[in-house]
């Protein structure tokens, strides 16, 4: 056997060639759209309804003259949801600076603090209010999940913010915070990709941004080519999956299994 053939035989699993083909197709989709975005081409992303809810929350806080509380989850900057949350925070900071509403940002992880400070500072600068930026409003509370939750609950009960915005990665503390916020009468908008916590946010908050919408919101707001390109690439992949699914189900119904069997991983 030639060395190349031996290499392929030992290192290449031909049973999973379908996985490779689909992986390459998805990568090509994403790379294509990132390239398009970098070239400046306008990529349409529908407006996420959660953004309207955020604007309503900021408006209400302005009317009531009370602060807005922004919670970015309990994970570190290596979690994509926290990254998306920081982008949304920058946008919220710009809105609050425009309407002169205090923005409180309690943080769970030390490494998130400088990122949050930078996001808020930039937001205030974009709104033309760099003087209004108050570093003391961005506070590190605790790394421990429930110690952080206790701290956030304390802020909610003492400062009585008019609006609570919770975007990021949450776990068991989600319902505790959402319930406390609900009891203070604040308008609440939440978003997370942690599926287990979505039911709690749906019942306790006024609006919930579900799963991938969190990343779509951050891509929509930032217009960052990589984020937009990834979103459009995954959209095209979803479209392809829908076509394959409909085709596969119809063919299976008529007893033709050859198409679906190609997707079977041995």
């Amino acid at each position: 056997m030639s060395p190349i053939c031996l290499f392929l035989f030992l290192w290449f699993d031909f049973n999973r060639i379908n996985v490779l083909i689909i992986l390459v197709i998805f990568f090509l989709f994403v790379l294509y759209f990132i390239n398009q975005a970098k070239k400046g081409k306008s990529l349409f992303v529908r407006r996420i309804a959660g953004l309207d809810a955020i604007e309503e929350a900021v408006g209400r806080a302005t009317e009531m003259g009370k602060p807005i509380l922004y919670i970015s989850g309990i994970e570190d900057m290596d979690n994509l949801q926290t990254v998306a949350s920081m982008i949304i925070l920058g946008n919220v900071a710009q809105m609050t600076a425009t309407y002169d509403v205090p923005l409180l940002v309690p943080i769970c992880r030390p490494f998130v603090v400088p990122v949050a400070e930078e996001a808020v500072k930039q937001g205030y600068s974009k709104a033309g209010r760099p003087d209004a930026y108050d570093k003391n409003n961005i506070r590190y509370i605790s790394d421990e999940q429930f110690a952080y939750t206790a701290g956030v609950n304390g802020i909610m009960l003492r400062d009585r913010p008019a609006a609570n915005l919770m975007f990021g990665s949450f776990f068991a503390e989600s319902l505790i915070m959402a319930e406390t916020g609900f009891s203070t009468g604040a308008i609440q908008v939440a978003g997370t990709a942690n599926i287990h916590q979505l039911p709690f946010f749906v019942v306790a908050c006024d609006y919930t941004v579900i799963g991938e919408e969190l990343f779509a919101t951050s891509a929509y707001l930032s217009k960052e080519p990589k984020l937009l390109g990834s979103l459009k690439g995954s959209d095209l992949a979803k479209f392809l999956i829908m076509i394959i699914l409909i085709l596969g189900a119809l063919l299976e119904t008529f007893g033709i299994t050859k198409f679906s069997s190609w997707f079977f991983v041995r």
């Binding site: 319930e179 009891s183 599926i195 287990h196």
Partner: protein, 288 residues
């Protein structure tokens, strides 16, 4: 504030008090609850029933004490069934707070059945980074676990002489309270095609039905109800005994029943209050 507004704005501490009372009263005055055995639990039981003596089953125990109420009964029932049928067990733990859980189960049950460490079961112990550990076990158990939990070299254990990797075991049953199950599905089943069944907490159960439907797992024991179903099957099979107080999850089913009824009543109360107060506010034919 009228009745409907009061229903909507009921202080949550009344809800806690009622649920606390219901749980306590049912714990003091239990009653029998008929149990329907779901196919996904029965498939795990039947699989173990189909094994021969001296077959090796792997149990990955990946949970901490905070979820032992739901998962410990599963571990005990499965271990008792296996030891009754002389099936050998290979246990490991991929959760940092879980080693004690495994030891509690294996120490107690092995004594009941006079099973010997190294011959009838091997407890590999705990290693961090579940994904890497499972990938390594798929090649050779000795890579991540050169010694067992008690410090004995694996090669010196009689049971391990014929075991190299997942190909030498009949199946893996992962009992997990966290993200460990994802690693077993992705790496053990996805990479090495190991036969896999899972036991998970109630919170996680709905996430794993797609994997049951796709055939990536052959069984799913979900939450305390799943544990109670398994205990019921094991009791009918003669592996655990009501007299010896070995049906923990099954005994908790009356509490589950009454509490769920109360929760449903509160949900109905809240929704009636919501719709009636909305109707009153906006009129019968007007809606915002």
């Amino acid at each position: 504030m009228d009745l409907y507004d009061q229903m909507m704005n009921l202080d949550r501490r009344w809800v806690y008090l009622v649920i606390g009372l219901v749980v306590t009263i049912t714990a003091i005055l239990p009653f029998k609850v008929p149990l329907y055995i779901t196919p996904e639990v029965r498939s795990v039981y039947n699989f173990i029933e189909s094994l021969e003596p001296d077959d090796v089953l792997m149990i990955g125990v990946d949970y901490a004490p905070e979820v032992m109420a739901e998962l410990h009964p599963m571990s005990y029932a499965i271990t008792r069934q296996c030891f009754s049928r002389d099936i050998k067990l290979l246990l490991c733990c991929l959760h940092q707070n879980g080693p004690g859980m495994v030891e509690q189960v294996i120490a107690q049950v092995s004594k009941e059945y006079d099973k010997v460490n190294g011959e009838d079961y091997v407890y590999l112990g705990y290693k961090p980074y579940p994904g890497i550990t499972i990938l390594a076990m798929g090649q050779n158990f000795r890579i991540p676990f050169p010694e067992d939990y008690y410090g004995t070299t694996l090669d010196s254990l009689p049971m391990m002489k014929k075991l190299t990797n997942f190909d030498d075991i009949k199946a893996i049953i992962n009992i997990s309270g966290g993200s460990g199950t994802e690693y077993w599905i992705n790496y053990a089943n996805g990479r090495y095609n190991a036969k896999l069944a899972i036991g998970v907490t109630g919170v996680m159960t709905s996430d794993y039905y797609p994997f049951l439907q796709s055939g990536q797992i052959f069984g799913l024991i979900g939450g305390m109800k799943g544990a109670a179903e398994y205990e019921d099957l094991a009791e009918k099979g003669g592996y655990i005994s009501r007299e010896k107080d070995q049906l923990w999850a099954f005994k908790s089913m009356p509490i589950q029943t009454t509490t769920h009824i109360v929760v449903i009543l509160f949900i109905v109360l809240g929704n009636v209050g919501y719709f009636m107060s909305k109707r009153k506010k906006y009129g019968k034919y007007e809606h915002p």
